[in-house]
């Protein structure tokens, strides 16, 4: 059986050790999910954890990814629907 190597191994030194003591430089935009730095088994990027996500804290840990994905999906649906609606403006005018 091949040896699966990931940051999930117990001896691994993950960001949970937080070598910087959780320092957050100023003016760097919104702080990414801080939970990411507390558990070496998971991060805050859903795609990295996609095959083994943190189900227990799913909506808090991945909130930036999930929220943005939902908003952008809605905008894309809006573009498709609005284009159709724009195209039909004046259709009742007849030929």
């Amino acid at each position: 059986m091949p040896h699966e190597t990931t940051a999930r191994e117990p001896h691994d030194d993950g960001p949970g050790n937080d070598p910087g003591g959780g320092r957050v430089p100023p003016s760097c935009g919104p702080v990414e999910n801080r939970d990411a730095g507390t558990d070496p088994e998971f991060g805050d990027l859903l795609l990295v954890d996609l095959l083994h996500p943190d189900w227990r804290n799913f909506f808090t840990r991945y909130r930036t990814d999930l929220g943005g994905f939902a908003v952008v999906s809605l905008i894309c649906i809006f573009i498709v629907v609005a284009t159709r609606w724009l195209a039909m403006i004046g259709a009742g005018a007849g030929r």
């Binding site: 091949p2 940051a7 937080d18 730095g37 805050d44 795609l47 905008i75 573009i79 284009t83 259709a91």
Partner: protein
């Protein structure tokens, strides 16, 4: 049709402005990071226009207008096929920034092996050279169409190439991105024709009176099917991050949040403008039915509707739409040559030395592209090959991020299987065409090579081991460490 002196003046003013920006930014470029990534200091506004500039080309406007002229509103899907990938970009571009890499090949070196990094660099260089050539060719064709042959295509290619090489080599990604901002605004102006069209046709009600109702249908049975859209969307998503310019784009952001917002704003801006281009196509059909070549529809509209001065502005916008993409591609290619091909052979030189190499590589890449541009016959056929080549390593790229078990051996096998399957379908299609058999459409080719490549990736990963498990552990540790946390990875910034 001779260009009006006012048009020539506008065009000249644009060209001079680009040169001045390049010279003004020259002092800011002191290191490789400045040249290739703008010092990783770009905020949301610059990233928005950089994304828009890299992703939007003049020939896309012409293609959408032309397709909508030919097929009605359903022609919009030639660009909207990427719409379904857009929400994923929100999550995936951040991966590139989190990796803290400078080139696309750096990822392969960190996650897999130096051999795959070299393969990625060579593949990326091929993509960059081919894409610049395709863009230059397309730009010359569009400029020729808009000016009615007033500006010879053979002259446009070298002039544009010299111009963007000069300001980008001098000012690096700083100059490229500031010009992207100007060029983005100009590209938006390509939609300026819409009010003129509505004035002529009497608005949307007038369009409905002139055109057949079928022209407003949203689907195109037989040509643009849901299967075609779905497969090409998946193919583009698979291959998007093997393109070296995506690292230039995401890597130049000052933090992950700005990358998310900037990339998304630039991408959505393009999506909204695509809607305007589609209505330009319908307007062109209403005003000029019966054109022999539907791709001339945009050029005819420009000549027909715009007053002197605005025609020059439109030509400037077409040049801008091409050059903003070319400059990012050129820098991405130069960074691959410098960091992933030259530096491993001649290491431990001062940064200034590699900066010089990067500049020379930039010029060389564009020189090859210019020669190639004169040899390209079909722009669309060329782009299809680029899409396919992007996907060759794409499955392994995603595997390396999502599945820790993905090994270097699996990446090699998957890349090889995908490439062989693609070439196999090309050979089969040639045979099928000669023997009157079913020729595989491009979407079926994509589905076949992606399925085989994925199977090869999974099976080989299950059968092989990591050569350097420590490197894989470190990679995932980095991917779980946000930029905002001080960490052992800060030195890679």
């Amino acid at each position: 049709m001779a260009l009006h002196p006012l048009d020539i003046a506008v065009l000249a003013a644009y060209l001079v402005a680009m040169l001045v920006i390049g010279l003004a930014c020259a002092g800011a470029v002191k290191t490789q990071k400045d040249l290739f990534l703008g010092g990783r200091r770009f905020g949301k506004l610059l990233l928005t226009f950089q994304t828009f500039g890299i992703g939007t080309h003049s020939e896309q406007v012409v293609a959408v207008v032309g397709q909508c002229y030919r097929n009605g509103l359903s022609g919009i899907w030639w660009q909207f096929m990427w719409l379904f990938c857009t929400p994923v970009y929100w999550m995936s571009h951040t991966l590139l920034r989190r990796m803290r890499i400078t080139t696309a090949a750096d990822y392969w070196a960190q996650r897999f092996s130096p051999g795959l990094a070299a393969l990625s660099a060579v593949s990326g260089l091929f993509q960059v050279t081919f894409m610049i050539a395709t863009l230059l060719k397309a730009m010359a064709t569009v400029a020729d169409s808009v000016t009615g042959g007033e500006i010879p295509p053979n002259l446009v290619i070298p002039i544009a190439a010299v111009l963007f090489v000069f300001y980008t080599v001098a000012g690096g990604l700083y100059a490229a991105t500031i010009t992207d901002l100007v060029q983005g605004v100009l590209t938006i102006l390509l939609s300026l024709l819409l009010p003129y069209i509505f004035a002529r046709t009497g608005g949307m009600a007038g369009l409905h009176q002139i055109l057949d109702p079928s022209r407003f249908a949203y689907t195109m049975p037989g040509e643009m099917t849901w299967f075609y859209i779905a497969v090409l969307s998946i193919n583009s998503l698979v291959g998007v991050y093997t393109g070296p310019h995506t690292v230039t784009n995401a890597g130049s952001g000052r933090n992950e949040w700005d990358v998310r917002v900037g990339v998304m704003a630039g991408t959505l801006l393009k999506r909204f403008l695509t809607v305007a281009w589609a209505f330009l196509g319908l307007g062109a059909l209403a005003l000029n039915p019966g054109l022999a070549d539907h791709e001339q529809a945009f050029g005819v509209l420009v000549r027909q509707l715009l007053p002197p001065g605005l025609v020059g502005l439109m030509v400037a916008a077409i040049l801008a739409g091409c050059m903003s993409a070319c400059e990012a591609l050129m820098l991405a290619g130069a960074s691959l040559v410098t960091r992933n091909l030259y530096a491993p052979l001649i290491p431990a030189r001062p940064d200034r030395h590699y900066l010089g190499v990067g500049r020379v590589a930039s010029v060389a890449i564009v020189a090859v592209s210019v020669v190639l541009a004169y040899e390209l016959d079909s722009v669309l056929d060329g782009l299809k090959h680029v899409w396919a080549v992007c996907a060759f390593m794409g499955l392994a790229w995603w595997g390396g991020v999502i599945w820790p078990r993905t090994t270097a051996a699996a990446a090699w096998v998957s890349t090889a299987v995908t490439a062989v399957m693609y070439l196999g379908t090309l050979v089969y299609n040639r045979w099928a065409a000669e023997h009157a058999r079913h020729v595989l459409p491009f979407a079926e080719q994509c589905a076949l090579y992606l399925a085989c490549g994925l199977a090869a990736l999974v099976v080989t990963s299950l059968l092989t081991r990591h050569r350097d498990p420590g490197a894989v552990r470190r990679f995932y540790r980095k991917m779980r460490t946000p930029l905002t946390l001080a960490s052992e990875f800060d030195a890679e910034e």
